[in-house]
Symmetry: C2
Subunit: 317 residues, 2 copies
């Protein structure tokens, strides 16, 4: 078994270097040089074993996901990621586990040039807390409260895959590794988020479920929304699962853990958004419209539709 300081050394050896990190891991705190004239964007999310990932999740996937869910929040703000801190609670100081965890964490950190600058390792039930830091130019941030009546509603990717993976791994039937990969290794839509300022009005990441997160946007913006649930794209893997249409719709509308972006934009931005998404390499789809009111109304086959389950509450879910 390793000690706390051995683990810290292992972590330090895997850090992405950046010129704006003045003091990294190894002092009482990190010392960082924010870029002049930019605003700082900060998000923090914890993953607890058995709550945010199944107990059988590979350490590398836990490492990836712990950073991914946080980068997804920066993506939803249109921010450029820069730094992160990591607090790792482990039942035992297991160096092999930490190395595997870092394999996933570092792989995603390198993709986005994110430097791990501090944090702690300590004993406790398995839990991973990450704080991420990014930057936006003043006035360029994507907010939840900026949706306007008449905006079109867009979603990236194919929501529902992660929720179906969770369902498959909780049951005894067939299990599709392609779906599991979407649960374990979500792709934070950082590239898309960086394309959206100036085009989109409001944005949010779908961590709690499409309808629930869209409701957050509507509440913050004092607007309503109408979406066609059958316009939400279905992945090949989710289609191959052979679900009843309504079961599939519920996963897509209310399943958590997708980490896709949902955003609103004026009709006139449609072509520019398609071009921006192409540039970012992320498929986007129009699924509805912002309307007067306060409610999120879904339709399927032209008729009002309600999911079997409303959304994700980290205490209720």
């Amino acid at each position: 078994m390793a000690g706390e300081f051995d683990l810290i050394d292992r972590i330090r050896a895997r850090v992405v270097a950046r010129d704006d990190v003045v003091l990294c891991i190894g002092d009482d705190a990190a010392l960082l040089q924010p870029p002049a004239g930019m605003q700082l964007v900060v998000a923090m999310d914890t993953l607890n074993a058995g709550i945010h990932f199944p107990h059988d999740t590979a350490p590398a996937d836990i490492g990836w996901k712990a950073l991914a869910v946080n980068l997804s929040d920066l993506a939803a703000m249109g921010a450029t990621p820069a730094w992160c801190t990591l607090s790792l609670s482990l039942p035992e100081p297991d160096a092999a586990w930490v190395d595997a965890f870092l394999d996933g964490f570092e792989a995603l950190a390198r993709q986005h040039a994110v430097a791990l600058v501090g944090g702690d390792t300590t004993r406790g039930p398995l839990s991973v807390c990450v704080t991420v830091f990014g930057f936006v130019s003043p006035g360029r941030v994507l907010r939840r409260d900026a949706a306007s009546v008449g905006d079109e509603i867009w979603v990236s990717g194919t929501p529902g895959d992660a929720a179906e993976a969770l369902a498959q791994w909780s049951a005894c039937g067939a299990r599709d590794p392609a779906l599991r990969a979407r649960l374990d290794r979500p792709t934070p839509r950082v590239a898309l988020g960086l394309q959206l300022p100036g085009l989109a009005h409001a944005a949010i990441d779908i961590s709690d479920g499409l309808l629930a997160d869209l409701a957050h946007v509507c509440c913050a913006s004092s607007v309503g929304a109408e979406i066609d649930i059958d316009a939400v794209p279905v992945s090949d893997a989710l289609r191959a699962a052979g679900l009843e249409p309504d079961t599939r719709r519920t996963l897509q509308a209310s399943g958590g853990d997708d980490y896709e972006l949902c955003f609103t934009a004026p009709v006139g931005a449609r072509d520019a958004i398609v071009a921006a998404a192409l540039e970012a390499g992320v498929p986007v789809t129009r699924i509805g419209r912002i309307v007067k009111g306060r409610d999120v109304v879904a339709t399927a086959n032209g008729a009002p539709w309600t999911p079997a389950r409303a959304g994700w509450d980290h205490f209720g879910g």
Copy 2:
């Protein structure tokens, strides 16, 4: 029982307002305006139940301590606190518990004008993770690697109290609430830390024990240290505990959780440091000297002295 979003509302209602917080709790991430020309100082520490605080600790004390241990890291850097994020894992969404937790957290946050700008609440074994953000002018930060041969070594306050409280509450004998208060409600030495840039060379906070943390300074600075363990001030409460001298010395030299500052400074700064400490309202005491070499050597009654226990490792206990 409350839901996740009820708890977030309770937390949001208790936040200290600051002009440099553009977007607070309620979006995908916080949006902050760093002051021009300053460097950002970031620390992150987690408290897990039964590891970092006894299971019988009052929620308000957990709230206080979770912020205090992080502010202590900023103090050791000479930084001015500004913002924090909080991730709270709770077995149940207990609103009364959260309100009590916030009583302690908010009390300390108001003392230092720290705005809680984001984070999350989720289900899991009781665990509190805080990230704090502060600022220093470039070149003014207090580092671990800046100790020089000939520096005097100083310590604030009366180390050992928290360790004796932990010992008393782990045993069946007499228990002194004054000592327990030092364990549960440590005072981060922010005011002292802000006085030290320009006077002190190196600084660290004593979270792992005086000798262990001084060894971190020596390692980072490539120097050795000699300290007179009997020069370390003893609080009235610790003296009243009536310990054998060597037991008391061990608590003072190696007990964790004190959150006092240990710093080094040239002899010529002696009077200025005494004046600065008076200004900060924090007693400071000279306990030794930085020397050539790599080792931390303690003496008691003029003879070499070794504690029964070396220091605090969060995995070693």
